[in-house]
């Protein structure tokens, strides 16, 4: 299993009080499995990604990524884990404006200290996979929203992650492009054998998921996809 959370609780200070962002969350996502997490704003979806992505520490409970427990890891060990085992796809793609499409991917190889030739081969392969070979020299502002998200996916896969964390990938896309991106995520999850967690507001993509989970007030309820789809259609 590539992601395992057990009885995870996260709280944040809010004035004189503390708000509970994650409340006793237990979930496992296996390699090759894509789990969609839905829920209203402020329900704790982004916190779930932050904890799974070693960006925030759990207040209690255990989190492990690709068999590595996160508890007790220092900042540099967390950095290394994110570099080598975790891929992020962000809401707005979050591509660096000065980098071309190819460079967005090569940056990962550079950070990881890989040989440039090997990085270039891997980047070429991934850009072909997401259908952007013809646009490898373009910069983010020269791409459509869907293309930017596909670059984001390719970048996230560049380091051969065990865990792919995806934050609202379709929020800025129309239905057709959103469907393309979600379909691609489902495909690469199966091909690259990543454990993929996708946070989304959009219930129309539920059929693409292997599993569906719903966040509500920090609590996570894992549902059967068919039941979740049925509930969404009601």
């Amino acid at each position: 299993m590539s992601l395992n959370l057990h009885s995870v609780r996260v709280t944040f200070p809010d004035g004189d009080h503390r708000i509970t962002a994650l409340d006793d969350v237990t979930v496992t996502v296996r390699a090759g499995e894509m789990m969609l997490v839905t829920g209203p704003s402020g329900s704790g979806k982004s916190t779930l990604l932050a904890v799974a992505g070693a960006l925030t520490e759990a207040g209690s409970g255990t989190v492990s990524v690709a068999g590595t427990p996160l508890a007790g890891l220092g900042r540099s060990q967390r950095d290394r884990l994110r570099r080598t085992r975790i891929g992020f796809v962000f809401q707005q793609a979050n591509l660096l404006p000065s980098l071309t499409v190819t460079d967005q991917l090569l940056l990962i190889g550079h950070i990881n200290g890989e040989r440039p030739a090997a990085s270039r081969d891997r980047a070429r392969e991934l850009l072909a996979r997401v259908g952007l070979t013809a646009k490898e020299g373009r910069r983010p502002h020269q791409l459509s929203g869907g293309e930017r998200q596909r670059v984001g996916i390719a970048r996230a896969l560049m380091g051969r992650p065990a865990l792919l964390l995806v934050d609202e990938p379709t929020s800025a896309l129309d239905h057709e492009r959103g469907l393309q991106v979600m379909t691609m995520l489902a495909e690469v999850t199966a091909e690259q054998r990543t454990a993929t967690v996708v946070v989304t507001h959009d219930l129309q993509y539920l059929p693409l998921a292997d599993r569906v989970a719903r966040m509500q007030d920090g609590r996570l309820t894992v549902e059967d996809p068919s039941r979740a789809v049925g509930r969404a259609q009601m």
Binding site: S46, G53, D79, L99, I111
Partner: protein
């Protein structure tokens, strides 16, 4: 510096702007350095050319500093100094200013009377004997004289025995002569100072009741030298400080503008060290290119201005202020970009 190079290519306008500012700062700093060195040479090159380690002045009055213009020593000070065991060589120095004329052409000059051991290298002719003088090349050209010509100083007519390499004192070209002739020119029976080689300056001063300084410290005895150099140095340092602030300000704004991008790099595994190296490398490139362009422009302008203004550039005069400017600029940039190490990768997920 993966990101740094690409940022430089992408945001060309912004980096060109700050690079131009650094170029202009560096141009000014190097021009000022050249001017400082040029003015220094015009002021004290006759002193710096003296082949002795020390200069002995009359003991200044309380609260006063050494001054070639007011120093006056009896002639027998030379013999008294020679008798001291700490002294290996002693030469009289007479320094005064006046006008020198040749066929209606008049020029202001500094008259330096001394013995042959303290004269600079000769371009032509020989050291002046009694009734003879040796102008510097510049003064000779100004007056249109060569070896064998006669010059008039006041009521005295003197023969040019030779022409020396250029030196100047207090921004005036020098006319060298023997100490006896100098005393006639200056209407005095004393001398101004001594050029001395000694192992113990304090012992010399104790024995003679004088003030002995190193040759370099004796520059302060040239009227206006210290205040002139201090003013120019203050301007140079101010410019260097301003350029450090400009660089720091630019990189502060630049870092703030791309905080979100930096958070993304942190989120995908970039370490604070990786970001710092990248950001500092970028600052170093901007500084280096800007400063180098400024230096090249300054050297070119200096070459054009040579002869019109006192301007002297050496490798040290160019390299030293540029290195300081580069170092301080990098410190300014380091202070500005240090915050990249504290960027929270969580903000890449939209956290505030």
């Amino acid at each position: 510096m993966f990101i740094a190079f690409r940022d430089l290519r992408y945001a060309t306008g912004r980096f060109a702007l700050v690079g131009s500012v650094i170029t202009l700062m560096s141009l000014l700093v190097v021009l000022l350095s050249g001017l400082t060195a040029g003015l220094s040479a015009a002021s004290v090159s006759a002193v710096s050319a003296l082949p002795v380690g020390s200069v002995t002045f009359e003991q200044p009055a309380d609260g006063s500093e050494i001054d070639f213009a007011t120093s006056s020593l009896p002639v027998d000070t030379v013999a008294r100094a020679r008798a001291l065991p700490e002294v290996t060589s002693v030469h009289p120095l007479g320094i005064s200013t006046g006008r020198v004329t040749k066929d209606g052409r008049t020029s202001a000059a500094t008259f330096i009377g001394t013995d042959t051991a303290l004269l600079p290298e000769f371009r032509s002719g020989t050291a002046p004997g009694p009734g003879e003088v040796a102008p510097t090349a510049g003064l000779a050209a100004e007056l249109g004289v060569t070896t064998g010509d006669r010059l008039t100083v006041g009521a005295l007519a003197l023969t040019v025995s030779g022409v020396t390499l250029d030196t100047s004192f207090s921004h005036l070209p020098v006319l060298y002569t023997g100490i006896a002739d100098w005393q006639q020119l200056a209407h005095t029976s004393t001398i101004t100072a001594l050029g001395v080689d000694t192992s113990d300056r304090a012992a010399v001063d104790q024995a003679l009741g004088t003030r002995t300084t190193s040759r370099e410290d004796a520059f302060a005895g040239v009227g206006g030298y210290t205040s002139e150099q201090n003013s120019l140095d203050a301007m140079r340092w101010l410019l260097i400080g301003i350029s450090a602030l400009v660089v720091g300000s630019f990189f502060t704004v630049w870092t703030i503008q791309r905080r979100h991008d930096l958070a993304v790099v942190r989120a995908i595994g970039g370490t604070p060290g990786y970001l710092l190296r990248d950001a500092l490398g970028q600052a170093a490139i901007v500084l280096l290119v800007g400063a180098a362009l400024g230096a090249v422009a300054a050297i070119g302008l200096g070459a054009l201005a040579d002869g019109v203004v006192p301007f002297a550039l050496t490798v040290g005069a160019v390299a030293q202020p540029l290195l300081i400017m580069f170092g301080l600029g990098l410190v300014g940039a380091a202070v500005a970009v240090r915050t990249v190490a504290t960027v929270d990768p969580l903000t890449a997920l939209g956290a505030s």
